[in-house]
Symmetry: C2
Subunit: 309 residues, 2 copies
């Protein structure tokens, strides 16, 4: 079960942090940009290549401290085919370093189409008599708006290839409540209703530590709702975005963890990958030392989380 | 306004049909597969190239009869970078033939990430001092589960580049009701609530025919719900999936149109692109004539729709 591997990596590192590999041009040091523009001109290929070089240095500087990385596919998808090459290269490189990969793709479609997403991202794709693994993620994020029949096509690949899902339940954005917090029939909110479904879907995927490979996305920015969901979904592992830049604190998200300090992994993206631009690090680390600043930010985040869980 | 161009194309062709370019290996004629496997081996590249060759022939055989095509990105995404090349080439080719492009991508994410999807798909992407258009769609489909702040980042590109959206409201899959039909506070269902939001979002994008460039996905398979939405959303254009293979009939979806026979565009994917495999066409058209079978299927669908609207 992939959830067991994730939990073991969290225990080994003592750090329930996932580094969000969401590069943006404004984060990339000048010397990397320069090298890529000189090599490929001012092209999407150059941007994509600079993202990969940036990610590689961050992975090198942090892989011994963290269990997982979560590349956000939008940053790469934006760049077309070159971006996807960078996305896949990033995943392969992080895998070589032993990291668990959470592909933040938030896909969702009717069953016959979901099969294609499923095969591409967490299964295998046929070409004649041969089979290929394309994206190499361990987990992917999924949007539940279309209902259970749009999620089921991922289950078979989860079984066959030891993969997992994090289904959007209560997202970290400010406006998430507009639909997710609505009271629906049965006296629950929409996010609780979705939470209940995700918990049920996970029953066939529970590993040796009591958590399921079918997890939930629960934002750090909504502690009251997260507390409710932790009670409602005792076997569901949480992927928790919203720490740091989006405003969620370690205190806020402490409710996502169980009494043994397990049950969640907390994402930070720009707070780690662009640490060298932050006031607290920029005097200590030059632009060339951006990856060392990221390492320090991981250590600081780990200490911050461990203070509260 | 892109919605005006879509409506004008519908009026010119007298045909509110969008051809879903959702290729699958089982649809591709043997001679195309053979050519691609000989050229590229049994690889994702060969599959992706066969999809493009297949799409090209279908576009050539139907572009004068239809206003738009809707490639489903999952079929291409499944194949990695080669798949996205095929997706983009398909879009560019269809554009050269004057077709409106609806990219069926169903993306949805927090605002700072949605900006990347928006720029990549319907805006422009910066590389140094240069700007690039990457995917070239005219419309894209969007998932609303994360709320208004996850949809707003698309509006600016819609304004600046004359693009449009179709937001998922009531989807065509059997299980769509599990969440979408739930009664929520205010005495409405979730899909009606989302419908109301989409209608509001569209107010700044209403074109000269009274319809907005911010449209809604409303499945042909749920006529009662579609009828309600048509009343609730008089200025919202509907993208209607579910006709044919998914079970929706022309009678079912007739409620999506207004009294002037406008207001919706109906998708058919395998019913058109794999027509040559259907009993009613396979005696008349050989495998090599698959695109002519698609042309006949478009004509038959047009007649079927016009019977009811």
């Amino acid at each position: 079960m992939i959830i067991d591997r994730l939990i073991e990596k969290i225990n080994e590192t003592g750090n329930p942090t996932v580094v969000g590999l969401d590069p943006r041009m404004s984060f990339i040091p000048e010397y990397i940009k320069k090298e890529c523009f000189e090599k490929y001109g001012e092209t999407p290929k150059a941007v994509a290549e600079s993202f990969f070089m940036f990610n590689k240095e961050i992975i090198d500087a942090t892989y011994d401290l963290i269990p997982a990385v979560k590349p956000q596919v939008a940053m790469y998808e934006m760049l077309g085919t070159d971006g996807f090459e960078s996305y896949i290269n990033t995943i392969k490189y992080a895998k070589e370093k032993g990291l668990v990969i959470i592909g933040d793709i938030k896909r969702g479609d009717i069953a016959s189409t979901a099969e294609n997403y499923s095969d591409g991202h967490i299964g295998k794709v046929k070409a004649g008599s041969r089979e290929f693994e394309i994206y190499h993620e361990d987990f992917i994020t999924i949007n539940p708006y279309m209902g259970q029949d749009s999620v089921e096509p991922y289950f078979e690949n989860c079984k066959n290839y030891e993969k997992g899902l994090f289904v959007l339940v209560k997202t970290s954005n400010k406006g998430s409540g507009q639909l997710q917090d609505l009271m629906v029939e049965g006296g629950k909110t929409l996010y609780e209703t979705v939470g209940g479904l995700v918990s049920d879907w996970g029953n066939d995927f529970i590993g040796k530590y009591g958590y399921s490979s079918i997890g939930a996305v629960v934002g750090a920015t909504h502690p009251e709702q997260a507390r409710k969901l932790r009670e409602l979904m005792p076997h569901t592992f949480f992927l928790v975005p919203g720490y740091g830049a989006q405003g969620g604190t370690a205190e806020d998200l402490s409710v996502c963890f169980d009494k043994n300090g397990l049950g969640a992994i907390v994402n930070s993206s720009r707070g780690i990958i662009a640490a060298y631009k932050k006031d607290i690090y920029k005097d200590k680390f030059s632009e060339k030392e951006f990856a060392q600043a990221s390492r320090q930010a991981v250590l600081d985040m780990k200490a911050d989380l461990r203070r509260c869980i």
